[in-house]
């Protein structure tokens, strides 16, 4: 299991659309809109997914229409959490390769 956070810079006009996309993604577990000097418009996103799939997930997010830039800020990989997710009934994608 990987828990990671990213900053997504998003075109101002498309914030709602991107937010809707992110909200519908199972791996996106927390989301906060940003309005700051460095990120005029965008999101801080916490992701949780199978460890081996994190890289693909990041690529997918980066390629979303209207996402201008993706910065990976934090990544933690841990097996125990995967087992726990499975026990807790969260959809698990099997053991990390």
């Amino acid at each position: 299991m990987a828990i990671a956070s990213v900053i997504l810079k998003v075109t101002q006009a498309k914030l709602d659309a991107v937010e809707a996309t992110l909200t519908n993604m199972r791996e996106c577990v927390e989301l906060q809109r940003l309005h700051s000097v460095n990120v005029e418009s965008g999101f801080a996103v916490v992701l949780e997914c199978q460890g081996a799939k994190l890289a693909h997930l990041l690529e997918h997010l980066e390629q979303l229409p209207d996402v201008e830039e993706l910065n990976l800020i934090f990544a933690n990989y841990e097996d125990d959490l995967e087992a726990e997710a499975s026990k807790a009934g969260t959809k698990s994608e099997g053991k990390r390769l």
Binding site: I7, Q32, N71, I73, F74, A75, A83, A85
Partner: protein, 761 residues
């Protein structure tokens, strides 16, 4: 179902940490700033300081309202550019926690309780005990055991009181347990301690060789910088050499999970590849390097090449139990990168071959010329906030004097006697005992009085049962200057003094990149706490030290003397006035004048003020008489205690991201405590299957020294045959399991390897 609860909490914690890191990365919208904005009780002022935890030395701003610390944020002008890890972000609850030593305490008789005593009585008692001991048994019957958490001013002053005032070199400190091998590596290879590079190199490197360091958990802010570098430049390569598959290894292009203790062979083998594929840099090593054979005698490049024949990759791959291709790839990437930066920490240092392992990292840089260029450097990471500036630089170890001087060198002793205004011959020529020997001497009543300052040796020493016995010696008088009442060492203390903690007093910390930063006083401490500088001055005067030696009113006075003692040395930071430190967010030494900006890279003409402007070569290793660094032919040997039939597993000690050292601070923060409340043993799933151990079951971890029951965490983090334990938990003193064998050069203990066995509880 403790583990279910624990894992759920940890998961929540990691999610929260991930979000806080993301928000902190957007510098004008950090969590503290948001908290501040949401809080109608806005701070009156922000006071500049340095984080109290690891050796990264992140700058912080402490928000104060009505004399109380209420918020913290990263200092945008320091090297961390406003970022903090979660531990750092949660420092305010530690500062404000109720569990503090707020007044002096005395144990009137061994085994009795600690009871309050006035400062006056406490200092008189302490002074009389030390004076009596010196009168009866000589100056070598007293000792100071300091810390990489003391302020620079505190370490410098204690060193002066003991070496100059009492006339004993019985001064050591906990950096002996973590950084001494790095000191040995730098001083033997380059002639001078401390890294030549700085954190800026991370932003320029195109290859990182990370060995013996779980940077992601032990130095999160630096790891974030490394990860960001790779993200910005996808061509950047990361090689991680570690027997554990840590979070650090997960961003690596190559993870070399070698058999514990075989990393010296691995590095020699990488050198073999580099030479045999003509990836070395003869232009560099011809000019700047001497080769030294295993006997310590001058040798040639051809001798070195012949020496490396015993480390051919095919053979070493078998020794290390790794794919041979990894050795070839690692050697090639290291050498062919535009700029390679090595990072290492306890996995290299806490070994009986710690100094040699350090030398071999430097070897790779010198052989390839991957040094003294932006991004190309060999950089030792540091575990404590002031091990470098406070203990290494002030010479507060048993064999050192300030600014790189050595006790054993008569010229250096004479210089310090002159600087301190001492009569000739006052500083003893006898090197004092290193940490393990110091506590052994306490057990034998050879040392009878010791001050232990801001460190917790009854938790951190190896082979703890032996040293608990030593610290229980009825002849011993142990003074502990300690902020937190739950530190295990207090159980052995006869007198406890209440220090002002962190920003309750002002002083300087020097972090891993030679950066000195000032923490200004932000708040008053609770109860009767006092700045340790004042405590030491008062103690010294009462113990009979010449008052002229300790004529200091405050830490600033001490700093000004130490600044001038550094003048003209290779550490010269005489340009760092207190006023400058108040204005600037840290300065890197050398800094020989008040208009000097500091030195991001040593040994380089035009950058390092100590290299003459007209020096004929760009690089000049001035720590060596002929200006050449050394490539050493250090034989690779095993650990002090290898697994055998009775104890078939390797046991290693490790860190977790949620706690710092003995958790006397992080244990006060509910979020951190919940995330990792107790020690555990990490077991590879193949070993767990072999022993029929299930995740969460209690198991007994046993070595030749002790046995401890711990819950099992079954995963693929450890390689098969290796188990790992964190050492933060005071209820499970896992250092009882480790042996106290030390490196013959640095005298740093081997916490990283011993033989163990497992059974179900």
């Amino acid at each position: 179902m403790l583990y279910k609860v624990m894992d759920r909490s940890r998961r929540d914690f990691l999610r929260s940490m991930a979000m806080s890191a993301a928000l902190a990365a957007v510098s004008d919208l950090s969590l503290p700033a948001m908290a501040h904005a949401a809080d109608p009780d806005k701070p009156d002022k922000w006071v500049k300081g340095v984080c109290r935890y690891c050796g990264t030395g992140c700058g912080v701003l402490i928000g104060v309202k009505n004399g109380r610390a209420v918020a913290i944020q990263g200092d945008p002008n320091n090297h961390n550019a406003g970022l903090l890890c979660l531990k750092g972000s949660l420092l305010i609850p530690v500062l404000n926690c109720k569990e503090r030593v707020t007044q002096p305490l005395v144990r009137r008789q061994k085994g009795g309780p600690l009871t309050p005593i006035s400062w006056d009585e406490a200092l008189d008692l302490m002074a009389s005990k030390f004076k009596d001991s010196i009168a009866k048994y000589g100056p070598d019957s007293v000792a100071w055991y300091g810390s990489g958490q003391c302020l620079t001013e505190e370490s410098y002053l204690a060193n002066k009181i003991f070496k100059g005032g009492f006339g004993t070199n019985n001064v050591d400190g906990n950096p002996r347990l973590c950084m001494a091998s790095a000191v040995g590596g730098y001083t033997t290879t380059f002639g001078k301690d401390e890294p030549m590079g700085s954190y800026e190199d991370i932003d320029k490197a195109t290859c990182f060789f990370i060995i013996g360091s779980n940077t992601s958990e032990a130095h999160p802010v630096l790891f974030r910088r490394v990860a960001r570098r790779k993200q910005v430049e996808p061509g950047v390569k990361i090689i991680v050499a570690d027997p554990r598959r840590t979070n650090t290894s997960r961003i690596a292009d190559i993870h070399i999970a070698f058999r514990p203790g075989t990393d010296l062979a691995l590095m020699h083998s990488m050198a073999w590849v580099i030479i045999h594929e003509e990836l070395d840099n003869p232009r560099f090593w011809n000019r700047h390097v001497n080769f030294i054979n295993p006997e310590g005698q001058p040798a040639t490049f051809e001798d070195y090449k012949a020496f490396l024949e015993q480390y051919r990759p095919e053979k070493v791959a078998e020794i290390c139990q790794i794919p041979v291709q990894q050795i070839y790839d690692a050697g090639r990437i290291f050498a062919e990168s535009a700029a390679t930066m090595s990072l290492w920490c306890m996995g290299i240092n806490q070994r009986v071959q710690g100094v040699f392992a350090n030398n071999l990292i430097h070897n790779l840089h010198l052989l390839t010329g991957q040094i003294c260029r932006p991004g190309a450097t060999s950089f030792s990471l540091t575990g404590q906030p002031n091990a470098c500036g406070g203990v290494r630089d002030t010479g507060s170890l048993a064999h050192l004097l300030p600014a790189g001087r050595q006790v054993a060198n008569p010229k250096h002793r004479a210089e310090m006697e002159q600087l301190w205004g001492l009569p000739q011959g006052r500083i003893s020529p006898k090197v004092g005992p290193h940490t393990v020997a110091l506590f052994e001497a306490l057990g034998r009543s050879e040392i009878r009085c010791v001050i232990i300052c801001e460190t917790n040796p009854a938790h951190t020493l190896p082979n703890l049962n032996k040293f608990h016995k030593a610290m229980s010696n009825p002849d011993a008088f142990i003074v502990s200057i300690e902020a937190f009442p739950d530190a295990v060492t207090l159980q052995f203390a006869d007198l406890v003094l209440a220090p002002a903690f962190w920003c309750e007093r002002d002083g300087v910390y020097g972090c891993g990149e030679r950066r000195y930063s000032l923490t200004e006083k932000a708040v008053d401490g609770p109860g009767q706490v006092r700045p340790t500088v004042n405590t030491l001055v008062e103690f010294a005067k009462r113990a009979g030290v010449d008052p002229k030696l300790v004529n200091f009113k405050n830490a600033e006075d001490v700093w000004n003397e130490w600044r001038m003692v550094s003048k003209g040395t290779t550490y010269d930071f005489s340009g760092m006035t207190r006023e400058r430190l108040r204005k600037e967010s840290g300065i890197l030494w050398p800094c020989p004048s008040e208009d000097h900006p500091g030195t991001p890279m040593r040994f380089v003409r035009g950058v390092d003020p100590l290299v003459p402007a007209n020096h004929p070569t760009r690089v000049f290793f001035y720590g060596k008489p002929d200006g050449r660094a050394c490539i050493f032919m250090r034989p690779a040997k095993g650990a002090a205690e290898e697994p055998d039939q009775d104890y078939p597993l390797y046991l290693t000690s490790m860190r977790v991201i949620d706690h710092w050292h003995t958790a006397t601070m992080t244990g006060k923060v509910p979020e951190l405590l919940k995330a990792n409340p107790a020690a555990f043993v990490e077991i590879n799933s193949a070993d767990a299957a072999k022993y029929n151990i299930k995740h969460g079951e209690m198991v007994i971890v046993e070595t030749r020294r002790d046995a401890i029951a711990l819950p099992a965490r079954v995963s693929d983090i450890c390689r098969p045959g290796l188990i790992a334990v964190p050492f933060f938990d005071a209820k499970k003193l896992v250092n009882k399991l480790f042996l106290d064998a030390t490196d013959p050069g640095s005298r740093e203990p081997e916490y990283k390897i011993c033989a163990a066995r497992l059974r179900k509880a």
